[in-house]
Symmetry: C2
Subunit: 236 residues, 2 copies
Amino acid sequence: MELHVGTGRADQPVQYSNQVSSSPMPKLPKTRGRPNSREAMLDAAQDVVLEGGAGKLTLDAVAKRAGVSKGGVMYNFPTKEALLKAMVERLVEHNRHAHAQVTASLPDRPGRSLKAYVMNSVRALDVDDRVSGALLAALNSDRNVLAPVAEYFNGRFAKLTQDVPFEQAALVYLATEGLWTQELLQLSPFTPRQRAQVVRMLVRMAEQGAAVETAVVASKAVPRKAISNKEKKGKS
Amino acid sequence: MELHVGTGRADQPVQYSNQVSSSPMPKLPKTRGRPNSREAMLDAAQDVVLEGGAGKLTLDAVAKRAGVSKGGVMYNFPTKEALLKAMVERLVEHNRHAHAQVTASLPDRPGRSLKAYVMNSVRALDVDDRVSGALLAALNSDRNVLAPVAEYFNGRFAKLTQDVPFEQAALVYLATEGLWTQELLQLSPFTPRQRAQVVRMLVRMAEQGAAVETAVVASKAVPRKAISNKEKKGKS
DNA sequence: TTTACTGTGCCGACTGGACGGTAAAGTAAT
DNA sequence: ATTACTTTACCGTCCAGTCGGCACAGTAAA
């Protein structure tokens, strides 16, 4: 299926795509002395957050990690908040791109986008996109910085619900988000096997679109003996 | 139903709940051993985190907020990590208590604990328990501090699944967790109305226990026209 | 080609403030 | 006086942000 859509870092000949306002570099060629160190610094920042948590994200740490001096970092990001903002924007952008890519790879049926969302979230866990969460923590400090994220989340959900009945979409959406968060914070109570099982269920639900919704509403008094027991295996 | 189980803070004849400093602080009786001060400081710490994010949680800020000096804080909590730990423990403890309380108020039927979990999580949002999340962010920095939380989470889920088929429990659990997180971080795409709708659905699913699981598995080809449309209103 | 000038990208020492933590002295109930 | 708690003052460290400087590339006049 070739789902490799990148890890959120610069693993392609991308010429620093997303420019953050006030960036002091209108000249695009930029080729002069060094390759684009901006992306390298963002990568470094990601790594730092990943390894030490948001609290360890200092300019010096980023500089060291990126193999430059602090001045170098400050040159590209006039302030720490600018760095954070750039990280967030790159992440959102990457996520949007990845979602689009996965969506495109799926047949155009109801729940397509929702299914893509689930798959993409899981992929994000398998790869090392774990920055998002660590970053999210960092953002918690500067609450205004995560505004773009909120906006992105909103728009995203709006699209997911066009395909699928609201309750259904919301359920899958929330569960996916919950799984993602829990795994990210390493608070998940699931064994790998259970996680896989859950993911399969979510994908299934996204695929089936409205079916489950109907079933849920209809199942007011289903006799319990009818329970399917075939799904019992994983246990820590 | 009497679900008032507290807000996680000292909800008793507390005199100075949230003081904004400046005030000369009317020297209350100050009875001999005043075990209140500890709780008051934890309350203050909660408030600080709530308002400014985890990054603003400094000893000075807590002290000012609590109407004491920094030394006063340091006396009760020899180190900042001790303060964090205390906050976490109080939170977990409170949560455990609340869950037990809600559970007790429900009829002893399958999915009882799960339903209580859902209801309690929502209640936590309605009241101002929002600290948990902010705190959770803080913990992200000192990863070892949130170990007790992880432990608690694990045990909690284990209990929820005793009652209900795994997939069902996992689904409700994750969705609830997702909802909680999103609302907490103010990233939720839902209108209040939609949120209420989702909550109702989750409670319903928890109640019905195994029923939905059966339905999900069975619903391979349910005609979409059977969808209940009665739930369409909220829209931002 | 040489020289002189300009701008870009980066370096790294330094500063000033914030913050965690310490210690000694003070206050009041017992 | 002893104990429980609080305050005031201070220290050391960390860190964002500043600033003067350096190297190199391009430009162009000589």
